[in-house]
């Protein structure tokens, strides 16, 4: 893991500091977007994208996933795609309510 060795000794702290900084920036942005009163559809989309961005930052740099072997990254990340199926399965049922309401 050449990259890891290069980042060893001092450079790690820089990576952590930058990650911390961007996480705070995105969080401030999230709260700002809510306070700014962005239209509902855009708000939800934007917030979900920003949350995914924050989660990726944490997993990649704080949890070092970016420096792990690619097959470990796949083992962790690929099953999460199934969450989309979970949402799709439940959303259909939940959205039916709108058709049932007069």
């Amino acid at each position: 893991m050449a990259e890891e060795e290069r980042a060893e000794g001092g450079a790690w702290y820089r990576v952590y500091l930058l990650t911390w900084f961007w996480l705070l920036v995105v969080t401030a942005l999230e709260i700002g977007v809510v306070l700014a009163g962005v239209p509902r559809g855009w708000l939800v989309t934007l917030l979900v994208v920003l949350a995914l961005l924050k989660a990726s930052l944490i997993a990649a740099y704080f949890m070092h996933l970016r420096y792990e072997r690619l097959n470990l990254v796949f083992v962790v990340a690929v099953p999460l795609v199934l969450v989309v199926l979970l949402f799709a399965g439940v959303a259909r049922d939940a959205l039916n309510v709108f058709l049932l309401r007069p």
Binding site: A59, E68, L70, N71, L80, L86, F87, A94
Partner: protein, 213 residues
């Protein structure tokens, strides 16, 4: 039989990660197990949040979160504290890798402090919400007409997350004492770090879906 021999022969060579070498993931079993546990935990949280989304859609009307929770003065700072504690945890892991155990212990204590502050603020928030008439099974008092699922999902999801933070605090306490005595391995600190960062990662979604959306 010949297939088995072929496979075991390939294992011995450990040439390619995809070929099932001796350590295909290039991490120890303990770290791999933590990753697998966190993956299963991610699905538990995903199921809870999916259920939350479904009942919120079905409920039709949903109270404005800002009427019950102070996003800028309480929940925002809670998020800030958790992100900071994740950063101090990362520093503790880096220090452990260098063998700087005093620094490791110091930053682990800072992380624990962050966790305790977070839990304190969550307790404050729960107290306020319960004061408004929120219960696990619905609302009582003058708010009784609010959707029961609003308080139920809130208590279950933030409670489950708070449980994770509490166990994380105990986990880190053990590691801090071990680090102080020089009896922790750098990898065990890193594995504890994985757990702590995951708790922060989950909060990202809870914060977004329960408080902001």
């Amino acid at each position: 039989m010949s297939e088995m021999m072929r496979v075991s022969g390939r294992q011995g060579s450990a040439a390619s990660a995809w070929g099932g070498g001796e350590s295909p993931f290039a991490v120890s079993w303990a770290k791999l197990m933590m990753w697998l546990f966190l993956l299963s935990d991610a699905f538990t949280f995903a199921a809870l949040l999916t259920g939350y989304g479904a009942v919120r859609l079905v409920a039709g009307t949903w109270p404005r979160q800002a009427d019950f929770f102070n996003i800028t003065a309480v929940v925002g700072p809670m998020t800030f504290i958790l992100i900071c504690s994740s950063a101090t945890m990362a520093v503790a892991v880096a220090a452990a890798r260098r063998g700087a155990w005093r620094t490791t212990a110091r930053f682990l204590w800072l992380t624990i402090l962050g966790g305790l502050l977070f839990l304190g603020m969550q307790a404050f928030e729960w107290t306020g919400f319960i004061g408004e008439g929120a219960r696990l099974t619905g609302f009582v008092g003058h708010q009784a007409d609010l959707p029961a699922m609003f308080s139920a999902t809130f208590f279950v999801i933030t409670g489950f997350h708070g449980g994770h933070v509490s166990s994380g605090v105990v986990y880190l306490l053990v590691k801090a004492v071990q680090a102080r005595r020089g009896r922790a391995s750098a990898e065990s600190i890193e594995i504890a770090g994985l757990y702590w960062h995951f708790v922060d990662l989950v909060w990202v979604f809870i914060f977004t879906l329960l408080y902001l959306v």
